[in-house]
């Protein structure tokens, strides 16, 4: 009995991936060229000038730094807000509670970026309910959007469902009896969490945080709508470059630099993953 040849099964995927990587390769190539003035054509010779220009530009350097710092901040906030929620979902004895959290996460997750960006503009806007509350308590109105605050809040909101759902699986895989064992040997709830559950959740926490960081660093829509032009994240800089001058080679070089920065943490994780699973692996018993 002959099986269907593997090639029959995978050629559609290979074709799609070929388009994707050809596009990236062509893009990388364009980043080495320069534009013929007044046309949409590029010419050689190939050089690294576009890269040098990008690194020489204070605007781009600042945007890169801001993007990295903001992404770290957002990741940290996501961990703080998301860990208790994931833990509660993994450990709560109440089906109703678990399903309610899950429903909220999934509906939030599925309701989309534009929806949520606009929602935050309404919530945090000068005439929004948050400012209404602040005024009602007798304080001055505060500017909550068109600044970093609004961008950070909205991105944390965007990332939380991804983070919680990824971390949830990891915490669920830690048997609850391990915590009970710790308790029965004298550990308080907090000690049991600190010495058993927390360290055992590190691999899952690392992957979930990495996902959060990757999503944060690629944010584009939220800075665009809630940054009010004051928050330049790198993706927005590339967009502006295309919008204002259609200078494809420079945009390509910027995008390539950006891609490398976005991939660094993933590469780092793959380096330490082996060590992580050796240290925390074998969770089965």
């Amino acid at each position: 009995m002959r099986q269907t040849p593997v090639l029959w099964l995978i050629w559609p995927l290979v074709a799609v991936m070929a388009v994707f990587f050809l596009a990236l390769l062509r893009f990388a190539d364009v980043s080495l060229l320069h534009q013929i003035p007044g046309t949409a054509m590029f010419e050689g010779p190939r050089h690294l000038g576009n890269y040098a220009d990008t690194f020489a530009s204070p605007l781009a350097r600042q945007a890169l730094l801001d993007t990295l710092v903001l992404s770290l901040e957002i990741t940290a906030l996501t961990i703080l807000a998301g860990y208790p929620l994931a833990y509660l979902m993994a450990r709560s004895p109440s089906d109703v509670l678990r399903n309610a959290i899950f429903f909220t996460l999934i509906v939030t997750f599925l309701s989309g970026g534009i929806t949520r960006a606009y929602a935050w503009m309404l919530v945090l806007g000068t005439t929004g309910p948050v400012n209404g509350l602040i005024q009602a308590m007798g304080f001055e109105r505060v500017r909550l959007i068109n600044n970093q605050f609004g961008v950070v809040i909205s991105i944390v909101h965007f990332i939380l469902p991804f983070f919680v759902l990824t971390l949830l699986g990891a915490i669920k895989n830690i048997p609850a009896t391990l915590e009970e064992a710790a308790r029965s040997h004298g550990a308080s709830r907090w000690e049991a969490f600190r010495t058993v559950t927390l360290p055992l959740s590190v691999p899952g926490l690392v992957s979930a945080s990495l996902l959060a960081f990757t999503l944060a660093i690629s944010s584009f829509l939220f800075p665009l709508l809630l940054g009010g032009g004051r928050v330049q994240m790198f993706a927005n800089l590339i967009y502006d470059r295309i919008q204002s001058s259609f200078d494809m080679p420079t945009a390509a070089a910027m995008a390539m630099i950006f891609l490398i920065f976005a991939l660094i943490p993933i590469a780092l994780l793959n380096l330490i993953r082996g060590r992580l699973s050796r240290r925390f692996g074998g969770t089965r018993r």
Binding site: V16, L88, I114, T115, L122, L160, L221, L225
Partner: protein, 265 residues
């Protein structure tokens, strides 16, 4: 409560986070029925005019039609590409198997803006100028990882002996696939399909580079409207999308169970 494994601080902080998660959804639905974009409570009046406005606006109507057309193509196409590939990745041994599955997931790691600009450049170089096709191809690339993840996770959970039993009872390879394997993949297909569908409707950062004057989609049109106008028409659009996502979630719960979605995520 001595037997609960966590202290009261956990549900308390979780409640704050849940409020944070749900608040924007509540506010935007509320505003879609309110007369102005200025939110007042209690409501002064209830109006459906923003919904009317959404459906009467030519640009929104065109964008909605395009979005629906694109997703109607992209959702089945992505699943059709992902299903045989996932079968090969899970069930077969072949050189480059690990590399292939890593590459199939790689679009997840590339920022949407980078994919968008790269494809913009690629399509103009390749001479493809039709907005519909540019957007569709981009969305297949972007949504493939979601579909493959969901299907690979489901396939890995299948009990091979069921298929062996079917073969043993005399069913051929093809009949076994359609009678035994495919029905068990239903939850994976559904979960994957929903993720693909939602991403295809919602994607902005890539698609914004590929739309043009004639072909725009809901997300890009919504962005343009927010930039240019200050009324809750986009709230109406958002409310429609939220209702749609609630329907999808209930569908998913009904036919697949929430845990399957997790595997697919």
């Amino acid at each position: 409560m001595s037997n609960r494994p966590y202290s009261r601080a956990v549900p308390l902080s979780a409640a704050v986070v849940l409020l944070f998660l749900i608040a924007p959804t509540v506010v935007i639905v509320y505003s879609s029925f309110s007369p102005t974009s200025r939110i007042s409570f209690p409501p002064q009046a209830v109006t459906l005019k923003w919904f009317v406005n959404f459906f009467h606006n030519d640009q929104f109507r065109g964008a909605l039609a395009n979005s629906l057309a694109v997703t109607a193509l992209v959702t089945p196409l992505t699943l059709a590409v992902a299903l045989p590939a996932s079968l090969a990745i899970v069930r077969r041994q072949f050189p480059g198997r690990k590399l292939l599955s890593a590459l199939a997931l790689s679009p997840l790691a590339v920022p949407g803006v980078v994919i968008g600009v790269a494809l913009l450049n690629f399509f103009s170089w390749a001479g493809l100028y039709t907005g519909f096709w540019k957007i569709s191809i981009a969305l297949v690339i972007i949504t493939l990882p979601f579909a493959i993840r969901a299907l690979v996770a489901t396939l890995e959970g299948l009990d091979l002996s069921l298929e062996e039993a079917s073969r043993n009872l005399g069913a051929g390879r093809l009949r076994t696939f359609f009678l035994i394997t495919l029905p068990q993949l239903r939850s994976g297909l559904l979960a994957g399909g929903i993720f693909v569908f939602v991403e295809a409707i919602d994607n902005f950062s890539t698609v914004v580079f590929l739309t043009d004057m004639r072909t725009t989609v809901l997300s890009v049109q919504g962005y343009g409207y927010i930039r240019d106008f200050n009324d809750p028409t986009v709230s109406a659009m958002a409310t429609i999308l939220i209702v749609q996502s609630i329907v999808l979630v209930l569908l998913l719960q009904r036919f697949a169970g929430f845990d399957k979605v997790l595997a697919g995520k």
